[in-house]
């Protein structure tokens, strides 16, 4: 059974249709990438899945249950975790405290403060943030903030993790580390749904890819097949082409598995 199923979701803002009749599913343990030009409706899709926006039509199923009307925090408790494209750390908290929020509230287990702190420290290690644990988040660099986004979402003990452009804006080395981290997350049994413009990363990671354009899904399948699809190529004309980016960034593909430097 699919872990996540979107069934004909439609969402409009005023006259602008952001997502139109969108259906796809994510299998347990799978990495599914959602790609498409800017404004294609990817972020809206994430908001619909995490409950920050309500669809006008269509349904969302998670692990067989209809969660279309569920509140965001209830979805988090069921196992839907997400990051934000524009990093949104909790200011006035340290890195560790940010992660503790997830450990304290993100799941149905009720952990004591000490347990939450201990488990948050473990996640800090996993995400390579141990050295920064006691730091105030104000003043962290982009790469560390992105890692914190992922770590904080992991702390909610998700079964499905939505990653919103966690590789964008990183140096090639940092991007390789991110690829390694995402792979470790999946190997830990968490399904990943990711949005990204870094095509090399998407190619290395994704089991399946869905392509959005103007809110509609125009292709779905393995990255190699999708990248050759004439409709997809046309959608990307004027943007950085899928193929072009995949070749220029191709240096990463060969040694992505080495990207475990912590």
């Amino acid at each position: 059974m699919s872990l996540l199923t979107l069934d004909a979701l439609t969402k409009a803002f005023g006259g602008l249709v952001a997502v139109s009749d969108l259906s796809f599913n994510v299998q347990p343990g799978e990495i599914f990438a959602l790609i498409g030009p800017n404004g294609a409706g990817k972020s809206t899709t994430f908001n619909l899945i995490s409950g920050l926006a309500a669809p006008d039509r269509g349904r969302i199923f998670f692990d067989g249950a209809d969660i279309t009307a569920a509140k965001p925090h209830d979805r988090a408790h069921l196992g839907v975790g997400r990051t934000f494209q524009l990093m949104q750390p909790f200011h006035n908290m340290t890195v560790l405290e940010n992660i503790m929020v997830g450990e304290l509230f993100g799941h149905a287990l009720s952990k004591s403060m000490d347990e939450a702190r201990r488990d948050a420290e473990a996640i800090c290690d996993l995400a390579g943030l141990s050295l920064l644990a006691a730091r105030d988040v104000t003043g962290l660099g982009v790469a560390d903030l992105k890692r914190l986004e992922v770590a904080r979402a992991l702390a909610t003990h998700p079964r499905l993790l939505l990653l919103d452009e966690v590789m964008a804006g990183l140096t090639p080395i940092e991007a390789r580390q991110a690829v390694g981290l995402i792979r470790r997350i999946r190997d830990g049994g968490i399904a990943v749904l990711l949005i990204d413009h870094v095509m090399s990363g998407v190619r290395d990671l994704a089991d399946r890819v869905g392509v959005l354009n103007f809110g509609r899904k125009i292709a779905e399948g393995r990255f190699e097949d999708v990248a050759r699809d004439p409709g997809v190529v046309e959608a990307y004309l004027g943007e950085e082409g899928v193929g072009a980016d995949a070749t220029t960034g191709g240096g990463i593909s060969g040694d992505a598995t080495v990207g475990d430097r912590a």
Binding site: P72, H91, N92, G102, D136, T138
Partner: protein, 331 residues
């Protein structure tokens, strides 16, 4: 930070905490002792404690990012509820005060749900409108005594020392609640909600529940204090009960002392009321000018209040970047 240093700093903090506690206890009992010969001093201390309860309880709500201008609404509601229950239904004064707190909680839950969608400035204006609407209604109604108000029966036969102990207990309770919140998981929920409600929700925090809860706790203490005020000063009218000065005072004190803490609002309330008292004896009217001056100066120059100044002095050897302005991180 090495383990040894961390331990030392924890022990140091524990020592500081014990010292603060001792100072607070002495300060709390001193007025009773001095007040035997100088009742004015006891009266002033009682006023300061009323103000401190309002400041600390307002701060608890502010921790969720809700800047309320409706603290006077709950203060007034509590007062009227208690006075009406005691005079009309013959309820004992202490029970009436408790009922005042409960009615304030109910009103707060209702207002909290209504204003959930309002953020920042809209929330402030909306709560102010709520408070002022209550004042107009109370002024117009018959059974609340209209604009002349009601006479309130005295608390504990009007014995000032006993009354002082009552408000001291209420203050102790609100300090305890505030302190507990800040060292529990609630602190994480409140701070997360204040920073970004949507992210907090996605992280699994039931935002509505915590916002309304904070509203209710905050209003309970405002309500019970409003009732206390009425039964100590033996009357209640719409202008004093729903006075904007109550809402403003409750907000200026934590800003002066240091927001989102337990000691900050307490410190701010004591400093502000004491300063006001000095000023009141030199200029008879218009002494509220000090509120305006302090608010402006603190916002412009000390965004973290007196506690921030203190922390800055302590941390001079190891400077640390300022954590936030008065109202959370950058927009």
């Amino acid at each position: 930070m090495s383990a040894g240093r961390a331990e030392r700093s924890v022990r140091g903090r524990g020592g500081a905490r014990a010292a603060i506690l001792v100072v607070l206890l002495i300060a709390a009992v001193l007025p009773l002792w001095v007040g035997r010969t100088q009742p004015y001093f006891l009266q002033l201390s009682l006023n300061i404690l009323i103000f401190a309860v309002l400041a600390v309880s307002w701060d608890i709500l502010a921790r969720t990012g809700q800047l309320s201008l409706a603290h006077a609404a709950f203060y007034g509601l509590g007062g009227y509820t208690s006075v009406l229950l005691v005079t009309r239904a013959g309820v004992p004064v202490l029970i009436g005060m408790l009922a005042g707190g409960v009615v304030a909680v109910i009103a707060a839950a209702a207002l909290g749900v209504l204003t959930l969608r309002l953020r920042g400035i809209y929330f402030a204006i909306g709560t102010l409108a709520f408070s002022e609407t209550l004042r107009v209604i109370t002024k117009q109604l018959q059974f609340t005594g209209g604009s002349s108000g009601l006479v309130a029966p005295p608390l504990l036969g009007g014995a000032l020392p006993s009354q002082y102990l009552v408000i001291l207990s209420i203050l102790g309770l609100v300090l305890l609640v505030s302190w507990q919140i800040n060292r529990s998981r609630w602190h994480f929920a409140f701070t997360a909600i204040r920073t970004n409600e949507e992210v907090a929700a996605v992280m699994g925090i039931d935002v509505i529940r915590f916002k309304v809860l904070a509203f209710a706790i905050s209003a309970f203490f405002a309500g019970i204090t409003g009732a206390f005020y009425a039964h100590v000063f033996l009357f209640i009218n719409p202008f004093e009960a729903y006075s904007l000065a109550v809402s403003v005072g409750a907000l200026v004190a934590p800003i002066l002392g240091g927001l989102y803490s337990t000691i900050g609002p307490l410190l701010g309330a004591v400093a502000l009321r004491a300063g006001e008292e000095v000023l009141r004896s030199t200029i008879r009217s218009g002494y509220l000018i000090i509120y305006g001056l302090i608010l402006s100066v603190v916002i412009l120059y000390l965004p973290r209040g007196l506690l921030g100044v203190w922390a800055g002095l302590v941390a001079r050897r190891a400077p640390r970047p300022a954590r936030e302005g008065a109202w959370g991180g950058p927009r």
